[in-house]
Subunit: 418 residues, 2 copies
């Protein structure tokens, strides 16, 4: 099932199988390798067991060109990846003095002392090259065996990323000697996947230079085109991608927000910065999520002024200038309150645009007239305001996410329209 | 490597391997099955290829008692899981009229129409039981073959969860006939993993009734004890878990915040609600993340009043009452500004506690005296205030996460101390 020209990933950690937390490495690694034209063909998730690691690495050795193993290099007794990999490849573990010195330096720079546990982290299989770790105590290593190059990386996300950028990518590129595959990502928000496919499925099906995936992203649905095997005609690749862009613009308008890899808040940030405009937010049910997403973007202080999470009625009145009577008469979850929230935050901060959300995220809080999921999203600007009533389905998290996407799309629509 | 008594998971999706987005199913499934005493022994991630699915399912059939396959049941051409599973098990696909009716109903209830693509979703392998899907168009199914029960579930997180709760858990429980394994989770915040192990590693090493993992969680580090194979003595299980709780309380005090599964914001919420107290937040570098986490908890409106994300200096002054001179003299990232932010949000909202963060998340924004990562976190209450200066290392995301954890811990420490 895997060609020798592929790369496989092994994620090690009981916690990944026990549901203690989710994996984030594969997303990062898949993207990093794709960028240099190498496809992750398969991934495996196994527990912290020397036997399981040794057996799986032994089985994949010789079957794949490269194997990237992450996790289990820590200082504690359940960190047994180095032992498992060494056993699989029939290699001894050797103490590496310079790494032990680096680990001790790492602690002393922070005014701390390495513990005896950390000594384990300075052992490597015979013949391995050590991959230095600037951000943590566990160095990685790389070793070749039976035609497979095995990379072993630590678990913490920041350490793995630094090590991949500094060292692993260059080695993988050299190993595969390949040129990057062309990948075209078209990002949409506010149109369901079935609807999207019924609108543009025929056009996607007619492509010959790409394989097509449609997939839910953090915001909305992405359509991803990947250069098909054997296709090298650049003008065909250009023409087909341009055609999809044209079709998306025509069929879904501003719901298509990006050809590329930028997130919705990055696109919004670029538009605002370019226009010299600013935004402020008044959130109720979304609880800070919109502000969080807008400020995920470095440099967002150029256009993001403030966000008021007004959960209580008092804070809607005090901070946003929503009128007491409005809440009394229509309730906190109403078109009228949403309108005053959006206008209030805009006027009080002097922002070009005011965004607002108010609704019932659930599972508690519904009333006979106001079901869980009922949400108002609003956008205010000088001289105008638009407020939409929506009933979102799903969990608390889902309702909050859709409300957040919805109001960000209102802003996008305005920015691309005017 | 896998016993017949285990359960394995297969996640299907090109997007998971290409780094388009991360997987969230395994975390949920691992936890759901662990709760009924069934261990996920291994997980596999493969692309949207009929051949790959058929080959892997064929290989695992007969090797594991249960196999849970998720994703690839959608209406589009790249959704080929049903075909792959049917081929692996040597079964034909049959059209199931009642499912097609349900899919059409699903659309018509929403004022929409099923497309022809959706018909694909009403085909199932011969002999399969259909698992209804209340939240989406793709029903799941379950089929037994060669001693392995294969569950096939749709991809969207909300649909998978509903289907697992409504149907799959009961079937898995019946299949394995087991009693839940005892799992004890001890959650900590603000102490690094190496430090934690150097403090309590000897106590953890002395346990005989449990296997031990220490692992990074969304907030801080968890220590997870899982009932060891063959141990049935309940009083020993009690005694050893109680001893670890005692040791953690003694060595790290309020940095140990939960024996159980509650998140830090759930623990804080329970403490605040029980005391009849309230909290309000003034965020700068964390951009809304603290509010988002506090409002992740259903019912948080009982104790969460408001959150002001004051990115601009003007909003710090207007909304929080930070003095112009304070910012001019000490800067927005300073102990003095943080103090006035924490006090300002508390006084203006009438909350019992005011939390504040201000700092430089990076990668841009550093000055010669104020490096990336420099952060002030503060807590104000009637009659007192505490502000801490911290230098967090890592990425923008990491700095923001640590600042958020740090200030929530300040509140926890106060609530458990007084």
């Amino acid at each position: 099932m895997t060609a020798r020209s592929d790369l496989e990933v092994i994620l090690v950690g009981d916690e990944l199988l026990a549901g203690i937390h989710g994996d984030t490495h594969l997303e990062y690694l898949g993207r990093a390798f794709r960028r240099v034209g190498v496809r992750v063909a398969r991934a495996h998730i196994i527990g912290d067991s020397v036997d399981d690691i040794a057996s799986l690495v032994g089985q994949r050795r010789g079957e794949t060109r490269a194997l990237v193993v992450t996790g289990g290099l820590g200082p504690t007794a359940d960190d047994i990846t180095r032992e498992g990999v060494a056993r699989a490849l029939g290699l001894a573990l050797e103490f590496h003095e310079p790494s032990w010195t680096s680990i001790q330096d790492f602690y002393s720079r922070r005014g701390k002392q390495a513990t005896d546990n950390n000594r384990r982290q300075a052992y490597f299989p015979t013949g391995a090259a050590v991959l230095p770790n600037e951000l943590g105590t566990a160095p990685g290593f790389v070793v070749e065996s039976g035609g497979t190059t095995v990379f072993v990386l630590p678990g913490p996300p920041e350490e793995i990323r630094a090590m991949v950028e500094a060292d692993v990518i260059a080695r993988v590129r050299k190993l595969f000697g390949c040129t990057p595959l062309r990948v075209e990502t078209f990002r949409t928000v506010g149109v369901g996947e079935s609807k999207l496919i019924s609108l543009v499925g025929d056009n996607l099906g007619a492509l010959t230079a790409y394989t097509v995936s449609s997939l839910p992203s953090t915001t909305g649905v992405d359509i991803v085109l990947t250069q098909a095997a054997g296709v090298t005609d650049r003008s065909l690749l250009d023409a087909e991608a341009d055609e999809i862009e044209r079709v998306l613009k025509k069929t879904i308008g501003s719901h298509f927000y990006e050809r590329g890899e930028r997130s919705l808040t990055e696109v919004l940030g670029d538009l605002l910065a370019r226009r010299g405009e600013t935004v402020a937010v008044a959130e109720s049910l979304t609880g800070g999520w919109i502000g969080k997403q807008l400020t995920d973007v470095s440099g967002s202080s150029r256009y993001f002024l403030a966000d008021v999470v007004s959960y209580s009625n008092e804070s809607k009145i005090d901070y946003l200038g929503v009128k007491h009577e409005t809440i009394d008469r229509h309730g906190a979850v109403s078109e009228e309150t949403c309108t005053e929230m959006a206008q209030g935050i805009r006027c009080r901060t002097g922002a070009t645009y005011g965004l607002a959300t108010t609704g019932i995220a659930g599972p508690t809080g519904a009333t006979p007239n106001k079901p869980v999921g009922l949400t108002y999203i609003g956008l205010s600007w000088e001289g105008g305001c638009v407020v939409k009533r929506v009933e979102y389905s799903g969990t608390r998290d889902g309702v909050r996410r859709r409300a957040s996407d919805g109001v960000l799309w209102l802003l996008l629509d305005r920015l691309t329209d005017s």
